[in-house]
């Protein structure tokens, strides 16, 4: 069956569309709304968005593949994006990634951990250089990372 937006997301979609002069212009916000509902942008989701915005599905794919912030693959409940641009890189982003891989039981960029909770990717500058190293988990920033801090966070999420 073709996917649909939930009634509440539908409202958000309509609101997003109403803010622009034409439907096509609402592509980015609508894709974000879709990502919140479905977790990642599958082909079916692209078709849904295309239908909603009255565009050929190709135009949607075009945009989705252009931006790295749309997940093209399923992600874990906690999608961890570790900044690895200069400031974080100097301050140990590589060690952060290694330690996270070890703790969460999933390799960076290789899908979801067995318990379905974690996925890890490297991200380009997230604009929080002053508190490097840092990571973004779903919508939240965790900054000034240390081993202890990561232990605390991951253990909390694991026990949930």
């Amino acid at each position: 069956m073709a996917l649909e937006f939930s009634p509440e997301k539908k409202k958000e979609v309509d609101w997003a569309i109403s803010r622009y002069p034409n439907k096509q212009a609402a592509m980015l916000p609508v894709l974000h709304i879709a990502q919140y509902q479905f977790g990642y942008i599958s082909n079916e989701v692209m078709e849904l968005v295309a239908r909603t915005l009255e565009l050929p599905v190709n135009r949607v794919q075009d945009v989705v593949t252009f931006y790295t912030m749309y997940n093209k693959q399923p992600v874990g409940k906690y999608h961890i994006q570790v900044c690895h641009t200069l400031a974080c890189g100097i301050n140990g982003a590589a060690q952060v990634v290694n330690y996270l891989e070890e703790k969460c039981g999933v390799k960076c960029g290789e899908g979801i951990s067995k318990d379905g909770k974690f996925s890890i990717v490297k991200a380009e500058c997230l604009g929080s250089c002053g508190t490097a190293p840092m990571m973004q988990v779903n919508d939240d920033y965790y900054e000034g990372l240390t081993k202890a801090k990561i232990d605390e966070l991951v253990n909390k999420w694991k026990s949930e």
Binding site: N43, P56, V57, N58, R59, Q61, D62, T65, F66
Partner: protein
């Protein structure tokens, strides 16, 4: 109008005219990739950068227009812009653009079908560096199958996006898109939505490099061996202008050289087909290959058609015609034959006082490609013959009434054979045709006729444009041009006609057919060259 100086030339430039266009008008060629006159301007390739005095950096010629300056601000007292297309700054920029394009480009030229007509080759030679500074490992994406007739050699792409814009703006089918970005950008189709429409062949012509390759033509020939001939597509009554690329083709183990049409390409004609042709026309000869060509004259002996010599076939035909009164003979023209050929047939019929008619063309699907971005919708006509209007005009007929015309006739001579339905078979049926079909199977005499690639003539399209097609290759087997066959028949019937070539026939036709009085012979049949001229009647 703004006045600009381009290099050393003064040019008046239109209000919305681009620098690129103005330069072209005065013979200055600016290199380009993403620009195409039929597509929207995106100015993404940066190959056309030029130096405009006063601009903070180089500007793309393909998208830059020049506004008129107030009198006091004019440069050198009179110019609205001063542009250099060939100074050191521009040359350095071109070298840099080409260096970028070549970073990941494979050195495929020896096996690439585009080699010889590739813009990347040409510009690298003209504007590029002689050696690469890139020592890293190249990215090598694999070739992709985009659909029934096209491959994408991904690594050769220079991301000009012409192909994508074609499917968006011209065909409106939107199959192609750019996926990912930067270093990883690739042209692609959506899963399970292959590039498959009746205009798709055009993207291969559009691609400035050898990235999009036609499966029908891949590895079949090298472009520098081709001879180009202006032609007209016989696929439907639209009459698209085409170029036939032909090649002498050496058959394995045979000494003999066979002429072969290797590909059919669109030829620009703004009033008829703009820059495009449909795939029916492009692969016309592929379809022909599936039919059986009539190579030699045949005469019915007993119940079977037997191969005979031209002399015998003609004498049998003449015997049959002479055996009945001329009232019992009918000559049938064809919407697949040229104006000249139909004209001669009509002339013969009137001289002898026989019946005269034209057969109906085949009708098929019509399809229109149109989008709101394209001012020239492209329609593939349902009338699948190039010259129905022309045949009717030259024969002064308003419509085909074949059954009525041949009802009481004993001998019927038909031009062309395209599965015309005959209600009753006349006593003697003489067919001058190229391919075997239901009609030729019933024929008593079969005279092999040359195809449109093997003879010259004119077609009149549905809008009345008389357009010339030219002989590109030798007639196959023993086939002859229809007009020559008609001349031989006429001389056997006591008419002494003399035409040196089909141009002579055209000259007489223009004098005698009222509708064609305004045609200018030397434009249609210039003595030494072929022009693309077309005239509307």
């Amino acid at each position: 109008m703004p006045l600009v100086k381009i290099d050393s030339q003064e040019v008046e430039i239109g209000k919305n005219e681009t620098v690129f266009n103005a330069a072209k008008r005065v013979g200055i060629d600016i290199p380009f990739y993403c620009y195409h006159p039929g597509l929207k301007i995106v100015a993404s390739c940066r190959m056309c950068l030029v130096d405009m005095v006063g601009a903070p950096k180089l500007v793309p010629a393909c998208s830059t227009t020049v506004p008129e300056l107030p009198e006091a601000k004019k440069i050198e007292g009179k110019f609205d812009a001063v542009i250099f297309t060939d100074n050191e700054k521009v040359k350095t920029a071109r070298r840099a653009v080409l260096e970028f394009l070549l970073l990941n480009h494979p050195i495929d030229c020896p096996i690439c079908d585009k080699a010889g007509e590739c813009k990347l080759q040409d510009y690298s030679f003209e504007h590029g560096n002689d050696a690469s500074r890139f020592v890293e490992i190249k990215r090598v994406p694999q070739k992709k199958d985009l659909g029934p007739s096209i491959f994408l050699y991904t690594s050769r792409c220079i991301m000009c996006s012409r192909c994508v814009r074609f499917t968006e703006e011209i065909s409106g089918t939107e199959e192609l898109k750019v996926t990912y970005r930067g270093w990883h950008a690739e042209i692609d189709v959506a899963p399970e939505k292959p590039l498959n429409n009746k205009m798709m062949g055009n993207v291969v012509d559009l691609c400035p490099v050898g990235c999009l390759i036609d499966k029908h033509e891949r590895f079949e020939g090298r472009v520098w061996n081709f001879v180009h001939t202006d032609s007209i597509c016989p696929g439907c009554s639209k009459g698209c202008n085409t170029t036939l690329d032909t090649m002498k083709h050496q058959k394995l183990n045979l000494e003999e050289l066979v002429d072969q049409v290797y590909r059919i390409r669109p030829r620009e004609n703004m009033t008829v087909n703009q820059w495009w042709i449909c795939d029916d026309g492009r692969y016309h000869l592929e379809t022909d290959k599936k039919k059986t060509r009539i190579m030699v004259p045949h005469v019915k002996q007993g119940s079977k058609l037997a191969e005979v010599s031209w002399a015998e076939a003609l004498s049998v035909s003449l015997q049959k015609i002479k055996a009945v009164s001329t009232k019992e003979v009918a000559l049938i023209g064809s919407p697949y034959a040229s104006n000249e050929e139909n004209y001669l047939l009509g002339k013969l019929a009137r001289l002898l006082g026989t019946g005269l008619d034209v057969s109906k063309p085949i009708y098929g699907d019509t399809q229109t490609f149109k989008t709101d971005k394209n001012p020239y919708p492209f329609t593939i006509e349902s009338e699948k013959a190039p010259n129905y209007r022309g045949a009717k005009t030259t024969l002064s007929l308003t419509d085909s009434q074949l059954d009525k015309t041949i009802a009481d006739k004993k001998v019927v001579i038909m031009l062309g054979s395209h599965n015309v339905e005959l209600k009753s078979k006349p006593e003697t049926l003489i067919v001058i045709g190229s391919f075997e079909d239901a009609v030729t199977a019933q024929a008593d005499v079969l005279l092999p006729a040359a195809l449109f690639t093997e003879t010259s003539g004119t077609y009149t399209n549905k809008d009345g444009a008389v357009q010339k097609f030219n002989r590109a290759i030798n007639a196959l087997g023993e086939s002859k041009a229809i007009w020559q066959i008609l001349v031989e028949l006429a001389s056997g019937l006591g008419q002494s006609w003399y035409y040196e070539n089909v141009g002579d026939v055209a000259k007489e036709m223009i004098e005698n057919v009222n509708a064609y009085k305004t045609l200018e012979l030397d434009k249609l049949y210039p003595q030494f060259s072929t022009l693309n001229e077309q005239m509307v009647v």
